[in-house]
């Protein structure tokens, strides 16, 4: 019987639910099912599996530094290089898209795994993996949905449009979709945000503890659980001003709603921090 894991692991698992909602839904699953016959889709999985196996058995590490870089890059890029030939030969991008979707799926899975179980990952790592998983899940969901609408299996272009906010500032005409399950995702994120905050803070404590005493038990995380919970609660409360400022901005500058409120709150907090640190 597997031993019970720590509280932060369960909270991390709960906080990835919104991402799971975007991946495990009929639209996405139907798209995956349609790719089951694609050789490029499976070869991407196969090559990355070979890469992971070689890494696991220590073969990659046994190579010299330069050879290692070339070898790893080659194995990781190969799944996307092979379908390129098919595009040049036939002009059909379906193999390329299949390989790309495989990458997105693997990337999301690995990121989610790191968010929930990642040992040796600190606060920044946890949040970064969460960010990657969220972005890639969003692309997968949007791409699959757009594919159904346009008649493709997966729309690569519209998948990118979903995260192309930056490009739209410089004139790119993005066409983000209104995703049907986004309401559930937003509700899920309302719980996931404090969840990932708690998880990231606890991971930071654990990481420092491991660095100080690699063989020691995880005592500090449990001893500081209340402190971490208090910090999480504090940060959740401070998100309310962001919400109210956002509501105020939505009416006249909706495109700045993700920029101005957080920057204002962060500015105030960092200013307070500056004065406190200066003393």
């Amino acid at each position: 019987m597997l031993p019970l894991r720590e509280l932060r692991t369960y909270i991390s698992a709960l906080s990835v639910i919104p991402i799971a909602v975007m991946i495990a839904n009929p639209v996405v699953l139907a798209t995956f099912a349609s790719y089951l016959s694609s050789l490029a889709f499976f070869s991407a999985f196969g090559l990355i599996a070979v890469y992971l196996l070689l890494k696991q058995i220590g073969f990659v590490r046994s190579l010299s530094a330069n050879v290692q870089v070339v070898f790893e890059s080659f194995l990781l890029i190969l799944p996307i290089i092979i379908p390129m030939f098919s595009i040049f030969a036939t002009g059909n991008p379906s193999d390329f898209i299949a390989a790309f979707l495989a990458y997105l799926l693997i990337g999301t899975t690995v990121s989610l795994f790191r968010v929930v179980f990642g040992d040796g990952v600190g606060a920044f790592g946890k949040v970064l993996y969460f960010f990657f998983a969220y972005m890639m899940a969003l692309m997968i969901y949007a791409g699959c949905l757009a594919g159904q609408i346009t008649g493709e299996q997966f729309s690569l272009l519209l998948a990118f449009d979903q995260i192309a906010g930056i490009a739209s500032y410089i004139g790119y005409q993005a066409h983000p979709l209104e995703l049907p399950l986004i309401g559930y995702v937003k509700i899920g994120m309302a719980f996931a945000i404090p969840g990932i905050t708690f998880s990231a803070l606890a991971a930071q404590v654990r990481l420092t503890e491991i660095k100080d005493n690699p063989s020691g038990e995880a005592k500090m995380v449990s001893s500081l659980r209340l402190a971490v919970a208090l910090l999480t609660l504090g940060s959740a409360l401070l998100l309310f001003p962001v919400y109210f400022i956002s509501l105020a901005i939505t009416n006249f500058a909706p495109y700045l709603v993700t920029i101005i409120p957080p920057v204002l709150v962060v500015g105030v907090i960092l200013l307070s921090l500056y004065f406190v640190e200066r003393d």
């Binding site: 949040v127 972005m135 990231a200």
Partner: protein
Amino acid sequence: MKKHIRLLIGFFGLMTLCSLALLPDATLAMLSVMLALSINLILFKFLKPFDSFEITRVFDKYQVMPPEDINTTLSMKYNGRFPANASVEFDCRSLGLNINTGTVVFQPGETYDLKKTFLADRRGIHKISNTKVVVKDWLLLSGITITSKDESELLVLPHIYPFETSPQTSAAGLLGVSSAVKQGRSSEVWGIRDYQPGDDFKIISWKAMAKSPDHKPKSKITAGEEGQAITVVVDIGKDMELPNGDQISLDLAADLAASLSYNFIKRGTRTGLVLFDTRPRTVVKPSRGESHVDSLLRNLAKVQPSNDRFLITSFTNSYLDFSASEFGNSFVLILGRTDDRLIESYLSKLKSTRELVIILIYNEDNLERAKQIQDTVKKNGIELLLTDHATIRETMKKMEEWSYATVKRT
């Protein structure tokens, strides 16, 4: 750049990316973590857990004779209102002591005790560093170091090898001389000996001189005194830093000097100490009593090899300046330098004026030369004992015999 600043910048970058990508949920997630980090740092400065620690460090002894265990107790009390992370550390590098609790979560009002025993086996004054308390915030990102001004010293004295024969049964005892350590000279006369230059005229026995066949002056041996004073001279030059077993030659010299001084004084003989390289660096005039023993041992505990080398020519000049009345006529020279080609000839000169025994400390590198010196000076009637870390007890035994012979002679 500090860890917490790096982390905040990293999160700010991620948040900006999410903001510009128009991903409000992800932006809020980044912002939430960033706010939590900032609150943590602000609370750390606001609650000031670093002002609420009481640290007490105690050693059960501060002066020991090696090898001896020293027990240390570190008592930590945290008086804050919220849990705090802190590590407490101090060390004594020269004794290989390093106490570090690692980061511990201190709960309000709790007391933590740490006990450690370590071995003091190296002569010298060993500095125990100040106790450092590194108090960290809840997420262990930033910390403040508080250094308590409790730097202290442990005095590890030289090792003392006692003479095998106790003072009561020694040759001195056989001569009828008291082994009392009381200071000064009594009017009670225990015996007569040959006059030695420097003897106080008051103790010259004119009657004994008249009765003696050769009419040579005689001095009285009074209660509380055993013969003339003995002075131990120790070479503290650079050559004494040569390794000798686990120690250096100066450690052996200090052990020998301490043992001889202690035993001589215990037996009632006034004993002095001179630490010499190119000139006398420390001069402790012969005396007796516990405080004098303490002074000698402290000097020998502290001494370290100097940057200069022992000069036999300088020593010869100084040696002649040591008045017999103050320093006596018997000298023990503990020497470590062997490569000086003048040693043999100058040692012969020294012998001609006073009673001198030389202990030459060698190691495997200069054994040949040491033997050569021994052979040469032996021809001139000078007693030279070779010693190293393995033969120090034998040397002490020979010195014990020599000391009894000195008393008998007197």
